[in-house]
Amino acid sequence: MKKAVSLGLLLCVMIAGLFAADTAKQGSTLETVKKRGYLIAGVNSSNAGWSYLKSDGSYEGFEVEFARAIATAIFNDPSKVQYRPLTSKERFTALQTGEIDVLIRTATHTLTRDADLALSFTTPYFYDGQSFLVRKDSGIKSIEDLDGATIAVLTGSTGEITLSDIMASKGLKYKPLLFESLDELKNAFFSGRADAWTSDKSSLAATAATYPNASDYLTLETTVSKEPLAMAVRHGDDDWFDLVQWTLNVLFYSEEKNITSANVNQVRSSTKDPDIQNFLGAKGQLGSMLGVSNDWAYNIIKKVGNYGEIYNKHLGPKTIFNIPRGLNVQWTKGGLFYATPFK
């Protein structure tokens, strides 16, 4: 099955190759998206809380909201997105070949992916780090306790290489158990086939929470890697990159200024701050510089919400996941999010 998928990808590359001259003439991604009438976003289909396929066929989750925000910036309609479920292995090829416009799928920004795969990453929308999920009764408290253990890991993730690096640096032996699908991995791990499962802390928390005996498991305190998750687009279309990056900045900046979907109308009509007036499109030409309408930021906040709202809706304290925000707060509160000025 997987072979068929990969062969399919190869065929796509070849077909894309045959029509390359045409797509090059078609011009910018933004124009293509506008002409097509909807955005195509590459996402995960089975990462609870983050991005998952619901039983009615629609997609929901934290990452899905970013795609909705981009669609709102362009079309003023968050539903104008077609989601493409991708495995870790397929995701970059799908982006390179032009099958998708933007990749929002827990992709860690690294130098290799930036330079060698010819992708452009936005600033991170989530600062994550890799850790291990283990059974509480296994007595494992730190990485050193994992010497000789069988560790399940998803193939195609940065976690796979971080795992071998960290274990080698500490001189620990282990047996990797590689799975391509998260479902098979969960099955094997929760049945006790593996002693630990390593992935980004956020994903571990999200998956463990959906498991009936969640309290039997714990995530190790240690974080063994930096995983800045960011959206990615192809090299060579800076206008499109700008739009995606500034859409993310809208989500950050509105949280920083406490503008929410509930109060955005009131703020726009009452604010005296010229920066906010510019930002919300009450005056100025910020939107048209990006090739979208001037009230794009207003539309995003109104229809999708600010970063904090999105976070709380999918990962916050009222959800089963309850992932602490940690570094993922605005700089004004000591976090790492810092939206550059809307001027």
Partner: protein, 407 residues
């Protein structure tokens, strides 16, 4: 052709077009040029498209350190080994499991085929039910069910099923067999220091056995007496091997290595992982159904009179099958068997679904680490093609050999 040929010898274009052979050649030539042109056009398009996307193919990454750790390997490999070596590890895993599946499904398939054509109603219908059910289940589903519902449901390593369990004074638990959802650990002979010497004795024993076998064959060819060549050769081998073992006294060249329970896993002995065994047994189960049908076609292709004649000569049912029917059935069964065997190496790639590190799984890992999807897929397609070609060449050779004996 010499230029001094008289003009009349050079055929006119019209007469050439009327020549069948020339016309055929012309059409094939035009078609060939067209194909070459299309392929050339397509590949130059692909290359220029890849260049504009910054995806120019390059195979330099193969020699770089892979950073991969593989759970099951037949050769020395660690994360500092190259990507090429990682590929080799996967290839060996694929080849070894394919060969074993071919051998075991041939044996089991033949057994099922014989049951299927048996005159015993129950036996024949059990075989029929097996074939019909297995043939109609997608292989991936079979493997997933087998892995999830059977192997993962075994007890965990802490409550493993153990045979011959002993606990040493230091609290180390040993057993001759440990079965858990991790897989099967078996006590297994491992070479010790004196084995270096013992190897030569084994080599000598093999040579002696071969000599005995050849001698008996030659003698039976001369006298027409029935020779039990294989039996005597085996006995000769065992006798020399045993004598060698005894002569070495207390320095046993092989030692039974018992699996010991560790903190997480058992260690030592022979280890067969759940993933390997799921893939192996799933494939054998699946392939045997097809092999059985190929053999049945072969057996039923042998005229009934052959069986009746054999029985009339006083041979029993099984001996008639073995000596008369199966040798003739083979000839019919080999071409379909070839296609089935070709499928096996490709089917092992489904191991990726249940966590077995076969060629395809490791390819995926390398693609992830290096981002070189196009190069790896080209490479892996070439490898599968080579493997299939080798299998089919061998089967064609075998087919020819069997056919020649008949005529």
């Amino acid at each position: 052709m010499k230029s001094s040929l008289p003009d009349s010898r050079i055929p006119s274009l019209k007469s050439m077009l009327e020549d069948d052979r020339f016309r055929n050649f012309l059409w094939q030539f035009i078609f060939f040029i067209l194909i070459v042109f299309l392929l050339g056009k397509a590949s130059s398009q692909v290359i220029s498209a890849l260049r504009t996307r910054g995806m120019m193919p390059s195979f330099k990454f193969l020699t770089l350190s892979s950073g991969i750790v593989v759970g099951e390997k037949l050769i020395e490999f660690d994360s500092s080994s190259s990507n090429l070596k990682a590929l080799m590890v996967g290839l060996l895993n694929t080849i070894s499991i394919s060969l074993l599946v071919i051998v075991f499904s041939s044996i089991f398939g033949l057994f099922v085929a014989i049951c299927r054509i048996s005159s015993n109603w129950l036996v024949s219908n059990i075989a029929k039910a097996y074939i019909e059910i297995i043939r109609n289940i997608p292989l991936l589903l079979l493997l997933l069910v087998w892995y999830r519902a059977f192997f993962l449901q075994m007890p965990g390593i802490k409550n493993a099923i153990m045979l011959g369990k002993t606990v040493s004074n230091e609290g180390v638990t040993k057993a001759s067999l440990i079965l858990s959802n991790r897989g099967l650990f078996l006590a297994w002979p491992t070479p010790t220091e004196p084995f270096v010497m013992y190897r030569f004795i084994l080599l000598g024993a093999t040579v002696a056995a071969l000599l005995v076998w050849i001698f008996l064959r030659v003698r039976s060819g001369k006298t027409g007496k029935k020779a039990l060549g294989f039996l005597w050769a085996t006995l000769a081998f065992l006798a020399i091997a045993a004598a060698g073992w005894l002569s070495m006294g207390a320095n046993h060249p092989l030692r039974l290595d018992f699996p010991r329970l560790g903190k997480f896993n058992a260690n030592g002995g022979l280890y067969i992982s759940s993933e390997w065994f799921s893939l192996f047994s799933g494939l054998v189960l699946y392939t045997s159904a097809f092999v059985a049908e190929a053999f049945r076609a072969g057996i039923q292709g042998v005229p009934k009179g052959q069986m009746e004649a054999a029985r009339a000569l006083g041979l029993g049912h099984l001996r008639s099958l073995r000596l008369i029917v199966i040798p003739q059935a083979k000839i019919v069964a080999i071409p379909p068997l070839t296609s089935i065997f070709l499928g096996i190496a490709k089917n092992t790639s489904l191991g990726v679904a249940i966590g077995f590190p076969d060629l395809f799984s490791i390819t995926g890992t390398i693609i992830n680490q290096t981002g070189r999807a196009l190069e790896m897929i080209i490479l892996v397609m070439a490898i599968y093609l080579l493997m299939s070609t080798a299998t089919s060449l061998f089967m064609n050779w075998y087919n020819k050999r069997v056919q020649l004996i008949e005529h």
